[in-house]
């Protein structure tokens, strides 16, 4: 008698859990909310400080052109993403999509690519947060020596590890960012970046700029980049600065009007982001030029973090706001980014593509437990290794990151083409979104990947660090991918079920 009730509810707990519709967030986000989410995922203050220098090093004054060009493959791939997301809403990740389209081997590497890219960006985010943490303290106390502490490895590495551990702990506890916090963070970033640009232009006007460089029309012409290699490297870097934008497109039931909100929000987000990127890149080049000395944006000394160098001279005492904006946005991103690799590792453990213990969910916090700690530890190890091996770790990690994003976005885009290959030609809309856009986007990204990978073998590539004549970026990027192949082969031997299609079926 008593067992009847039990058996009955045994079959239906999920029906009461509201998990099918992802909890209570249904229909709560309007256009403004979605734009805030999009901008916060992109974290423009962080991406600019991390990527602007390395991109200038590649393409010089054609920085605005490359930012514009870099958006194109991003847009094309994101359109494909949206189709995959609505076709397989439950499994939304490169790993499952690519496995279903291409089978276990490519699916496995797609998942690995995403994990590697996010692990790399985590180590970079933590490092940027630490740089600005010490800079902020220096600005608060008026003691410049504190800002230099970050160059001391004995201070830098432990602090970075503490930042990563804190993000890990927050993710593990399943703590979530609130709406008010996101609005404040995004508004603050946009205000400070605008302030920076206005201040830079007024220096140019007043003749107090470091190296006043008049804006020219060919800054917007991607054809003016001196070589294809530089162009490819620039694009693979600028993919990184739009990374996260696809979040707005893939939003669906959480919006107040799924038919209109995601499209409008994505458009508005990209207009805001593009506006900020254009204004900031014009401001930086007009003010500092691309020279390789002093404050010049081409100076290798300035590549790590352009705002750390320029905010002081440009914004004066208010440079402290820039430090605060970057510290807060990179620290917040550090935490939200950790969720991605943790969930993908969890999915791979769950489908037995990795040892099963990675599929563990914490019963108290309902968060991936082993996977979160693994992702955090991997980011920590990656950071320590790069910091010790490279003369300019941030520069090299950002370049290696561009490589990795091109790889897994490219694979996912082609997965989209292959997955929809039978239905894509049924309608004009389907042809464009399910076939043409992801195909072109995916091919562009994989070409960028191959070109950048080949060039990065040059020991002078990136910051110029090398091991036995091989460029550091190549070693980092390829090392991570080769490691992935090794782990994959090991898993094939130890736990062949996934590779035989027992846990996640390829859709033929």
């Amino acid at each position: 008698m008593s067992r009847d009730t039990a058996t009955e509810s045994r079959a239906t707990p999920a029906a009461e859990s509201g998990l099918g519709d992802k909890g209570l967030s249904k229909g709560t986000v309007g256009v403004l909310g979605a734009v805030v989410i999009g901008v916060s995922c992109i974290a423009p203050a962080y991406t600019l400080t991390a990527a602007l220098g390395p991109t200038v090093a590649e393409v010089g004054t054609q920085l605005p052109a490359i930012f514009l060009a870099g958006f194109l493959p991003m847009l094309l791939v994101a359109l494909g993403y949206r189709e995959l997301n609505s076709a397989m809403p439950d499994s939304g990740t490169s790993f499952t999509w690519a496995t279903r389209a291409f089978g276990p081997w490519i699916g496995w590497m797609g998942g690995w690519g995403l994990i590697a890219a996010t692990i790399i960006v985590l180590s970079n985010l933590a490092a940027v947060a630490v740089d600005f943490f010490y800079l902020l303290i220096a600005q608060l106390t008026g003691n410049d020596a504190i800002a230099e502490l970050t160059r001391n490895l004995w201070v830098n590495i432990p602090t970075t590890l503490v930042f990563i551990a804190a993000a890990c702990w927050i993710s593990y506890r399943g703590m979530q960012t609130t709406k008010a916090f996101q609005y404040a963070l995004v508004a603050f970033q946009l205000v400070v970046l605008t302030w920076f640009a206005v201040a830079a232009f007024s220096h140019v006007n007043n003749g107090t700029a470091f190296d006043p460089t008049p804006i020219a029309l060919d800054w917007f012409n991607p054809m003016a980049v001196h070589s294809f290699g530089a162009f490819a490297a620039g694009v693979s870097l600028s993919i990184f600065i739009f990374w996260g934008w696809d979040v707005t497109l893939t939003m669906n039931e959480e919006t107040t009007n799924p038919a209109k909100v995601p499209g409008r929000a994505a458009t508005l987000t990209i207009l805001i982001i593009m506006g900020i990127y254009m204004v900031i890149s014009l401001a930086v080049i007009s003010y500092a030029g691309i020279g390789e000395t002093g404050l010049g944006a081409g100076n290798p000394e300035n590549q790590e973090s352009i705002f750390a160098v320029l905010a002081g001279p440009i914004m004066g005492p208010f440079a402290i706001l820039m430090s605060l904006a970057i510290l807060s946005s990179s620290a917040a991103s550090l935490q939200s980014t950790l969720v991605s690799p943790a969930r993908t590792i969890l999915a791979m453990g769950y489908y037995k593509a990795l040892p099963e213990r990675f599929g563990k969910v914490s019963p108290r916090f309902m968060s991936p437990s082993t996977a979160t700690i693994t992702a955090g530890s991997a980011a920590a190890v990656f950071y320590v290794v790069t910091r010790l091996l490279s003369e300019n770790a941030l520069w090299d990690t950002i370049t290696a990151l561009g490589l990795m994003i091109c790889f897994y976005y490219g694979v996912t885009a082609l997965a989209c083409v292959w997955y929809f290959r039978r239905e894509a030609f049924d309608t004009v809309r389907g042809f464009f979104f399910k076939f043409l856009a992801p195909l072109v986007g995916g091919v562009i990204l994989l070409v960028m990947f191959a070109s950048t990978a080949r060039d990065s073998m040059d020991p002078d590539y990136g910051s110029g660090s090398n091991i036995a004549g091989l460029g550091m970026v190549f070693i980092l990027g390829m090392g991570v991918l080769v490691l992935g192949v090794a782990v994959m082969l090991y898993m094939r031997i130890r736990q062949p079920g996934f590779f035989k299609g027992e846990t996640l079926k390829r859709m033929l």
Binding site: S2, A14, K22, L24, V29, S91, G92, S336, V339, R343
Partner: protein, 292 residues
């Protein structure tokens, strides 16, 4: 009689189910609640999408639900409710309201600070805000229940000399009569070293005993009355003897708002040292009378 069990798929959750089953007896119905974090879009992960997490979590919750139902001993009926909530404590209170639960039952935490049991964060919030009685157990307390075959043997109500004692005795008496259990009313008297053993101390013990007896008489109950004294609360508690399968009932602090829980300092100390499960009753709580 329905009980809301705050369940997590670990040893604590198992302890909570064991306690709820013992509290309710064979006629009880257990609503085993699993709370999930609310998925707010403003904590969007970067780069996008949920990475298949919600479907994996749903499968995992289903598996845990099965495990939970298997833990329920023969007798009570049970079902599992899983819900995404913004705060676990608030979610448990809301579910208790919806189901008409008599009490919220939590498992103990297998973490001890300096040898003492401390309630977890969810338990702490509940113990300071719940409009329902909250029952808690420690691993040791559950062991005592197990020795008694998972059945209650006696209910002990802790009363002070201040107002509010009556509601606690009433709540304990109702629970006792529902399952036909013995009732004991205990008053704790803490003395400092200087006065211990003096005539003054003996007088204070007598007054306390009289106050407790008055309440018992007023409610028309038959109960054993005990006054435990010692040089401090911990000492006084150590004087008490316990039988296997016993539970303790305490009231809320006078700081509590009406019909809300607020765990007072004395109760907090008791929570750490009691060898039996503890039920904390909200201020001005009016227990339902026994239903057949």
């Amino acid at each position: 009689m329905r009980y809301l069990v705050g369940y997590t798929a670990d040893a604590r959750g198992a302890e909570a189910i064991a306690l709820a089953a013992a509290l309710g007896g064979p006629a009880a119905h257990l609503d085993i609640a699993m709370v999930l974090p609310e998925d707010t879009p403003f904590s969007a992960t970067y780069p996008g999408s949920d990475h298949g997490y919600s479907s994996i979590l749903a499968d995992q919750v289903d598996a845990w639900a099965k495990e939970a139902l298997n833990l329920v001993p023969a007798g009570p009926t049970a079902r599992v409710v899983a819900r995404a909530v913004s705060s676990p404590a608030a979610g448990l209170i809301a579910m208790a309201k919806e189901t008409g639960a008599r009490a919220i039952v939590l498992g103990g935490r297998k973490r001890h600070v300096a040898g003492f049991f401390v309630p977890g964060s969810v338990a702490s919030s509940l113990l300071h805000a719940s409009p329902f009685p909250v029952a808690m157990s420690t691993p040791g307390a559950v062991a005592s229940l197990e020795r008694a075959g998972g059945k209650l043997s006696r209910i002990t109500a802790f009363v002070g000399t201040r107002p509010g004692a009556r509601a606690v005795v009433q709540a304990a008496a109702t629970a006792a009569s529902n399952q036909e259990l013995a009732l004991r009313v205990v008053s704790l008297v803490a003395q400092d070293h200087a006065t211990a053993g003096s005539a003054e101390a003996a007088g204070s013990i007598e007054r306390t005993r009289a106050a407790a007896a008055a309440i018992v008489e007023e409610l028309g109950l038959s109960a054993e009355i005990t006054v435990a004294s010692g040089t401090g609360i911990d000492d006084a508690i150590a004087e008490l003897d316990w039988v296997d399968g016993e539970i303790a009932v305490v009231g809320s602090s006078r700081l509590a708002r009406k019909r809300r829980l607020f765990l007072g300092t004395t109760a907090q100390r008791m929570l750490r040292t009691l060898p039996v499960p503890l039920v904390v009753v909200p201020k001005n709580h009016k227990p339902e009378t026994a239903r057949s």
